[in-house]
Symmetry: C2
Subunit: 206 residues, 2 copies
């Protein structure tokens, strides 16, 4: 479907990225996280190591299939417009879950990734490292979401940052819980659990 409309250049680019992701997962499964080197992955994917880093910021990003998500002003507006009346906590959690991204890769690769995350918890940290990298734009998004709620009408940047940290932590805990049960990473479930966690802790604190 998409491949019809794309030029050769774009098709090649997508193919290279997917090949790298597949090779990364394959080698890590076969040799372990340590022993699967960037050189080996690049070799298997038939590109130079330098090219590897043109596609991914780190080895672990390739393994997880993480890509830099664009958090543009339009994207934020769209996100808010899509769910206009939900609670800000839910909206923020939803934003984060969206960002963590359901990698579009093949089903089998995705299943394998679940195993890898369970085996190497450090990989989970990677996802949140990525969040940190985009912290500024994310904080802006959170600010925009909060601005729609009367309670947070006067919210400033620090408040947004704090809310982001709270919701981010809730999502992380929720991911860990779900990963522990080896269940499918259903985004909807993830969201519900994360929101629930925030509610619980807030209730206890007040």
């Amino acid at each position: 479907m998409t491949s019809e409309t794309l030029g050769l250049r774009d098709r090649k680019r997508i193919e290279t990225r997917q090949r790298l992701e597949r090779c990364a997962v394959t080698l890590v499964m076969r040799d372990g996280l340590e022993n699967a080197t960037v050189d080996a992955i690049s070799d298997l994917a038939d590109v130079s190591p330098r090219t590897f880093f043109n596609y991914f910021d780190s080895k672990e990003d390739a393994i997880l299939g993480l890509r830099d998500v664009e958090i543009t002003d339009e994207a934020i507006a769209g996100h808010i417009a899509a769910h206009p009346d939900v609670d800000p906590v839910e909206s923020i959690v939803r934003l984060i879950v969206t960002m963590l991204g359901t990698s579009i890769a093949e089903r089998e690769v995705r299943a394998t990734r679940l195993e890898l995350v369970a085996r190497h918890p450090q990989l989970m940290g990677r996802q949140f490292a990525q969040m940190t990298r985009m912290a500024e734009r994310l904080t802006n998004a959170v600010g925009a979401i909060l601005a729609r709620d009367a309670r947070f009408a006067d919210a400033d940047a620090p408040t947004a940052e704090l809310m982001l940290a709270i919701c981010g932590a809730a999502v992380r805990v929720a991911v860990m819980e779900l990963a522990a049960t080896h269940s499918d990473p259903d985004p909807e479930l993830l969201q519900q659990r994360a929101v629930e966690l925030v509610r619980e802790v807030v209730q206890k604190l007040q």
Copy 2:
């Protein structure tokens, strides 16, 4: 005082560490964060680069004078015993601030560090990266603190993790605020502001 009781080996070790910290700060101030290489710092401190990494986990740790803090069970018990009747939020914040550590270095170096953090916000991230490294032990500590509060009597590990994240974020925001005003990093002030931030956001959420 201390130098009397310590043997030559320990005195040398302390001296080497301080020399490395001083050289790191000096070079970064002179050449910038990027250009101050580990090689250059080690050269100036008259040790090998390998030795540098015997003392610090990263270049930035040396710049900030971060050291691995031991969070033993006794330390946790001591912390709780020292402030038995305070609110759990305050207690957790206090724990974190303590952990971030008042570097014992000379006054001048400390002032310079403030400048550096203001100039390179990435350095603040370093402190929390260190927190992440000790997340497990810290979470245990938070669990112990929460267990003393009736509201959190049934708190589990996820709750502790969430509370840690909330308080950690609050401290981070507080540090940033204080760094922006270039005021002295008074730990007491830091704590108060962080606790205040948590209260504010919880109130808005309920």
